[in-house]
Symmetry: C2
Subunit: 184 residues, 2 copies
DNA sequence: CATAAATACTACCGATCGGTCGTTTGTAAA
DNA sequence: TTTACAAACGACCGATCGGTAGTATTTATG
């Protein structure tokens, strides 16, 4: 087993990120990992099965240690936002967003995986924020942070503008501290 | 000529919005407008040529009258943001964002059209904001507004959450007024 | 080294992709 | 009614799509 499953999933993520679900072909993936197309079906029953794996890997990488939530919420939140922003900046796009836009009702497994992915992101951020504000406010602050970071990938994709992502990361952190102060 | 060019472009926009550039086929488009695939090539030289037309139509629809910029900038800005938010809410997704993520270097005409589309949106918003703040600040406020509205489409696509879009529209308008007050 | 199980391979399937061909049809001017 | 032109058509092209069948090759185990 020269090529590991994680290598294939990581390559699939790159393709989904750059070309979307429909635009990325199994042949592309095979070439990228140095295998033949048929060999991919040893590890994955079909193309759609790649999506949950890709998103699970991304989630795992984005939050390397959930231990961070032990400390003060401000530190945890700053680390979480920074992690997401860094991930989006290095990848230049968000796989989740590309898949969210790209998968339809004909791929229900993929669609559900996308839901779970963003639901996880939301609740992860919201859980941190509850350390400094009531749940209801935390939910909206988390959602706002998420969509701003995701939206910032647009300017990276179109104008190669990475500055806005950094500014956005700082802005959402500031918003959180202000929301906490207002809720106190 | 029973089917007008604008009808085809509008149908193409719907397909690009829902399925992306790679996911939307000329056969889909033909079926949607009630023509045969070959007939589409009477009006458009190839698939890529649809992209500039789609984005131009969207831009035209988003800002029906540039006359709005004549009045006070707050009114114009609120109308502009409201127009964008309404457009994104009814379409459930942003064609521009889907295309920005979807088109690659193999379709340079489409890629350039996407650039121009978002550049137009940016400068349009920024131009309005210069009525109440210096250009430099207006640019960042406009960019921030744009990415927040675009990012809000994610929650519509994934969770069918239209509430966040409305909240975001109000938030970016408030941000603009505060930026103007701070710059005064 | 022999053997059995993974793993990767070649070759192929029907379907669909973007796009082109020559032909038929609708329509408006003469 | 004839003529002429654009619009729509059916049929087809090579390429690629996701996926499968059967075979060769590697790898771990005895």
């Amino acid at each position: 087993m020269k090529v590991t499953k994680d290598q294939i999933v990581a390559a699939a993520r790159q393709l989904f990120r750059e070309k979307g679900y429909a635009g990325a072909s199994m042949q592309d993936l095979a070439s990228l990992v140095g295998l033949r197309k048929a060999s991919l079906y040893m590890r994955f029953p079909n193309k759609e099965a790649l999506v949950p794996e890709v998103l699970a890997l991304t989630l795992r990488e984005t939050f390397p240690d959930a231990q961070l939530m032990a400390g003060p919420w401000q530190v945890a939140y700053e680390a979480a936002i920074g992690g997401i922003a860094a991930n989006l900046s290095t990848g230049k796009r968000c796989v989740g967003l590309h898949l969210a836009y790209g998968v339809g009702d004909d791929t229900p497994v993929a669609k559900e995986a996308v839901r779970e992915f963003f639901q996880s992101l939301r609740t992860f951020l919201s859980d941190i924020l509850t350390g400094g504000m009531p749940r209801e406010i935390a939910d909206t602050v988390a959602a706002d942070a998420l969509i701003r970071l995701e939206g910032a990938t647009l300017l990276i994709a179109v104008f190669d503008d990475t500055e806005t992502m950094q500014r956005t990361a700082r802005a959402v952190i500031k918003d959180a501290t202000e929301a906490a102060r207002a809720a106190r």
